[in-house]
């Protein structure tokens, strides 16, 4: 097994706009995966990934009850919904993009969906 994994293999995400800032919420599929994200998915790492967009600062907030970290990306949207010249003025594609990030480590316990039942169609294993 490789010791690098794609973030999207152990987590899902959603992004949106807050003025000229954007946020990406990253939700681990398992408690073990959440612990790992706490170590490797730092604010600095996310800031580095999104630096080409002009992001000036990244803050990370924990939501342990849903195994998630929320990243607030300052100045990510090239002017925000009203002034941005980009196609994606509202940061809708930031979540799918971050899931492509490669992170160190690999463990089968990160891949198993958490104890909460999911519909078969919604489980990561069926993707």
């Amino acid at each position: 097994m490789s010791d690098v994994i794609r973030l999207g293999e152990i987590a899902h995400a959603r992004s949106g706009d807050k003025g000229n800032h954007a946020n990406v919420g990253v939700i681990a599929y398992t408690a073990a995966g959440y612990e790992h994200l706490g170590r490797v998915l730092t604010a600095d790492r996310v800031a580095e990934f999104f630096a080409p967009l002009g992001v000036t600062r990244v803050e990370r907030f924990a939501l342990p009850g849903i195994h998630a970290y929320n990243f607030l990306l300052h100045d990510a949207l090239g002017g925000g919904a009203s002034r941005s010249l980009r196609t994606d003025t509202q940061g809708k594609t930031l979540g799918p993009a971050l899931l492509e990030m490669e992170i160190p480590g690999n463990h089968s316990s990160w891949l198993t969906p958490s104890s909460a039942p999911k519909s078969p169609a919604a489980s990561p294993a069926s993707r």
């Binding site: 080409p52 967009l53 939501l63």
Partner: protein, 458 residues
């Protein structure tokens, strides 16, 4: 224990026209909420009102209510709470009341909730010491003052609670916080004190989870597959109980999915610090929320907490900021991505030679990852065609216009394989930029006008 079902049938102005009628018909609702106002929708409505004094509200809302007439006849207990009033709640209430009266529901009480519009008195507020400094940068209002198009405080649930208490079956507000459309009915039904922060937090998280429509029921979901049908997607319903427990679900038999995954994604949508989700009603703490699948398409939401509401109202201002436009062409053929970049250079060179280069331009070759410029994504194979998109922004309409004017000639004077120009040239549109700020609560008091539909129609 008393439980109420609040369903949301619109997540923005432009959401599905089927959704309100389907959730009202199938959702066994006590309340239907319809949320229409994004940050800048108010400025668009202000612009419409400036051209027609009777306009300024979500113009197709009366049509939505016309669609809902049979449901309102069949379900006498169903109430509607909406921010469709936009810049002009009274005009919206009147026009909608006429629809109700014509549909045989003339005795229905319709309430308009206004008081959020700060623009008429803004100079008096400035003179009285309000600075309207930028919420994030602290920057002064300065010359933005002369360009303001709209200035609205985000009101809370207070006006909605008053309207429901006066018997309103349809409550039409202006700018209120999205979650307050849900908090209002909960406060009215359960009589919780407005300072019961933990229960208010439950209603607030419920409102947050349903306010964007199908985004909590399978829309936008990372793990979406075609097995989650979206053509008949059910819009979300929050079941809130008197003890402050809450379940998110959707109408029986509808498409979509309500899972821990879909709800968790909506919990983190457009939030900053989850420990301080600020609304006019509360400083809510979502950081320890837990989600549990208690049945098919039923997710229990627990662990929300709250602290006292912020002292000041958040205000959303919009101001004129020049003109913007974007034009697209399709470039097809071998090596089309490089060809497209040359095409963009050609257009901008011609504009520059005319002395009309806008202050800001942006080129995207869509199909190559340019929607997120510079982010290393999955390497794609060489595409057969790409979309070239050039966008421009400048105080001068003429400069923005010229970029669009020089784009289409690429069809004849550019490289081979340029197409997709049918449908006419886009027009520059005025930019309404966003200025977030705050105001003292006493300067934006909710004003409730409640009358029967018949009385509004006179």
């Amino acid at each position: 224990m008393k439980t109420i079902r609040i369903g949301n049938g619109a997540g923005f102005w432009g959401d599905s026209r089927l959704a309100p009628i389907e959730i009202a018909r199938e959702g066994r609702l006590d309340y239907l909420t319809l949320e229409y106002l994004a940050e800048l929708t108010m400025s668009i409505l202000a612009h419409l009102k400036s051209r027609d004094p009777a306009a300024g509200y979500v113009s197709d809302f009366p049509d939505v209510v016309r669609d809902l007439l049979p449901v309102l006849q069949e379900q006498p207990g169903l109430r509607i709470v909406t921010n469709a009033g936009g810049m002009h709640p009274e005009a919206c209430a009147k026009r909608t009341a006429e629809v109700l009266a014509a549909g045989g529901l003339g005795s229905t009480i319709v309430a308009a909730v206004s008081g959020d519009d700060l623009l008429p008195a803004i100079d008096a507020h400035l003179a009285a010491g309000e600075t309207f400094a930028h919420f994030e940068t602290g920057g002064p209002l300065g010359d933005v003052r002369s360009r303001i198009v709209s200035a609205n405080a985000y009101l809370g649930a207070e006006g909605i609670v008053e309207a429901l208490g006066r018997g309103a079956r349809l409550v039409v507000t202006g700018r209120v916080a999205d979650a307050s459309l849900t908090v209002g009915p909960a406060l009215h039904e359960f009589g919780w004190p407005g300072t019961d922060w933990d229960r208010l937090a439950v209603a607030t998280v419920a409102g947050h989870l349903i306010e964007c429509g199908a985004q909590s029921t399978g829309g936008m979901y990372s793990d979406w597959t075609p097995a989650i049908s979206l053509g008949d997607v059910g819009y979300p319903i929050a079941e809130i109980a008197e003890d402050g427990s809450c379940v998110v679900t959707k109408p029986d038999g509808s498409g979509g999915a309500v899972t821990v995954g879909t709800v968790a994604e909506q919990l983190v949508y457009e939030i900053g610090d989850p420990a301080h989700y600020l609304t006019p009603d509360i400083d809510a703490d979502f950081s320890h929320v837990r989600l549990e699948q208690e049945g098919t398409d039923r997710v229990r939401v627990a662990g929300a907490r709250g602290n006292a509401r912020p002292e000041r109202y958040k205000v959303s201002m919009a101001y004129r900021d020049g003109y913007m436009a974007a034009g697209t062409l399709v470039i097809a053929g071998r090596d089309c991505a490089n060809t497209a970049r040359h095409c963009a250079g050609t257009v901008l060179e011609r504009v520059r030679r005319a002395g009309l280069l806008p202050e800001r331009t942006h080129v995207e070759v869509l199909g190559t990852g340019d929607s997120l410029p510079g982010i290393p994504l999955v390497p794609a194979g060489e595409p057969w065609e790409v979309v070239l998109r050039i966008a421009a922004h400048d105080p001068s309409r003429e400069k923005v216009e010229r970029v669009l004017r020089e784009l289409v000639p690429l069809v004849t004077s550019g490289p081979p394989g340029v197409t997709g120009y049918a449908g006419g040239r886009p027009k520059p549109h005025p930019v309404l930029a966003y200025w977030p700020t705050t105001v003292a609560r006493e300067l934006a008091r909710p004003k409730v006008t409640a009358r029967t539909a018949e009385e509004w129609s006179r």
